[in-house]
């Protein structure tokens, strides 16, 4: 009995030590962030090192953030509206790309003839960065949601195809043999062996694709748009409101993180058996 207690208390002690260390680093992080904000505040509001149109203080940024939640100046919409437009457009393009790209990648990896036909076309489109599609889409589809969604589609489509293709190609031959010896048909092998094997990579493709979609959306909105976060930032620049620019940039970052977190959660729930 005594032996067990001694061991338990040693384990407890080492857990406490770990927790203390973790806390120490969390404190360092908080301190670092606060120091940064203080220095920023110091340089801007107090020492006035830079003109306010180029470098607003953190307090000003925060106040503008709150104000923009319900004010439409200077760009014509409130922050929530801009966020809504941006997220909607990005998700639309992203979903189109994922819904067309992933199955296409799967089928290309499974059917050799399809691969031979589609791959050359795909290899030509693939190295073109999504941003480079903006001019042609604007000319062909005009300024508006359609051209933005088209650009985002190109950004989303490519990683989905590549990763789905890769995932299917990684199918373990032994698993195919197991299916075959039990008498599986080609389509059973596809749906019960190949696609489940590929799911982790298909998901990776979707994660990459969402990130690329969001970046393409921001780029498209910066260059030609009349609403959305990118547009808000552009207008803010033209009227010298750097505080709104920063609000916009931070919003873009936060939404990007939320997207990643959402996908991580979905992956944990639906992709089974991965370490």
């Amino acid at each position: 009995m005594a032996k067990k207690n001694a061991r338990d208390s040693r384990i407890w002690l080492s857990i406490q030590k770990e927790k203390k260390e973790k806390r120490k680093y969390v404190l360092i992080s908080c301190a670092s962030l606060l120091t940064f904000l203080l220095i920023w505040e110091l340089c801007t509001d107090i020492l006035k090192l830079a003109p306010s149109y180029a470098m607003p203080s953190p307090l000003k940024v925060f106040r503008s953030f709150v104000a923009k939640l319900y004010q439409t100046a200077p760009d014509g919409s409130t922050l929530p509206v801009h966020i809504g437009v941006s997220v909607y457009t990005a998700l639309l393009g992203f979903l189109m790309g994922a819904v067309i790209g992933s199955p296409l990648g799967i089928l290309m990896a499974w059917f050799k003839t399809l691969d031979r036909i589609v791959k050359p076309v795909f290899d030509v489109l693939r190295p073109i960065p999504p941003i480079a599609w903006i001019p042609i889409m604007l000319v062909v589809l005009g300024i508006g949601t359609a051209s933005k969604v088209a650009v985002i589609f190109m950004a989303s489509f490519v990683p989905c195809v590549i990763n789905a293709y890769s995932g299917i190609k990684q199918t373990n031959e032994v698993h195919i043999w197991v299916g075959k010896t039990f008498g599986a048909s080609r389509s059973q092998l596809l749906f019960r062996v190949a696609i489940p094997t590929a799911m982790p990579m298909i998901f990776t493709g979707i994660k990459v694709s969402l990130g690329a979609s969001w970046m393409a959306l921001v780029a498209a909105e910066l260059l030609a748009s009349s609403s959305g976060l990118g547009y808000m930032i552009q207008i803010a620049r033209s009227v010298g409101r750097a505080d709104i620019i920063i609000v916009g940039m931070l919003m873009i970052g936060v939404i990007s993180m939320l997207f990643s977190a959402a996908l991580e959660y979905l992956e944990r729930r639906f992709v089974k058996g991965v370490k």
Binding site: V174, T181, S185, P196, K272, G273, V274
Partner: protein
């Protein structure tokens, strides 16, 4: 379908890989309910033989008949336990075991019933919802064996399934296998390079030569069960087989 008649007939099976002739005109029969062990020097094409038998490999020439017809995996109820680990990492234990039945499109209730029966036989009841990456190697092999037996195969093929395991575990799984075989009456073709294992398990032994591989000897193994690996009869048979393999 009387017990003791031929379930598998192999005629003139020949297979080469390019210029290399691996299987050379192999012919033999397997009777229903047999436990046939195929032994031979390492690299003589034992795995190639099983893969050719099941048409996973294309062959040059020959006939493989099951119940008198050319072997057809969709029709004939065959289970194959490979040398490599073959559990599916995206399915839990219960789903892995039911995989064969699912492919054969059995109704849900039947699958559940058969999986329940087999999972108890291999002692994995507590691990139903564990995933392969959480299990030890021996448990994974049990899952594979359970998956095979769940489909109540007429013919069970096993390619050195216990090769990676330590001795104690090997003995235990061998006994479990004999138990399952006696209970279900399946026909087993078991490949191994371990002669003791072959003598312990089989009621018939086929000894193969080196490449180009043909049958060196077919023999019956009538030792009474349960078998004692230290008994003089056992050792005599084991030595006899070892001699055959040494001189090719």
């Amino acid at each position: 379908m009387t017990p003791g008649d031929n379930i598998v007939e192999v005629r003139n099976l020949t297979k080469s890989f390019g210029d290399l002739l691996v299987l050379n005109d192999i012919s033999f029969d397997v009777k229903r309910g047999d436990f046939l062990c195929i032994v031979g020097p390492t690299g003589c094409g034992k795995t190639t033989f099983l893969n050719s038998l099941t048409k996973l490999y294309d062959i040059d020439r020959g006939e493989m008949l099951v119940n008198g017809e050319s072997i057809n995996l969709k029709k004939h109820n065959v289970a194959y336990i490979f040398q490599e680990y073959s559990t599916m990492q995206w399915l839990d234990v219960e789903q892995n075991i039911g995989f064969g039945l699912k492919i054969k499109k059995r109704p849900k209730e039947e699958i559940q019933e058969k999986v329940d029966k087999v999972i108890k036989l291999v002692g994995l009841e507590k691990y139903r919802h564990y995933y392969p990456n959480q299990l030890s190697v021996s448990m994974l092999q049990r899952v594979v064996i359970a998956r095979a037996f769940a489909t109540e195969p007429a013919l069970l093929l096993m390619d050195e399934p216990y090769g990676h395991l330590d001795l104690q575990l090997k003995y235990k799984l061998e006994d479990e296998l004999i138990n399952l075989w006696e209970k279900t009456g399946t026909t087993v073709i078991f490949i191994t390079h371990n002669i003791e294992e072959a003598v312990y398990l089989s009621n018939r032994i086929i000894v193969l030569t080196n490449k180009p591989t043909t049958i060196k000897r077919e023999m019956l193994n009538g030792l009474p069960r349960p078998r004692d690996i230290a008994s003089p009869d056992f050792i005599a048979l084991r030595d006899q087989v070892t001699e055959l393999i040494k001189w090719w």
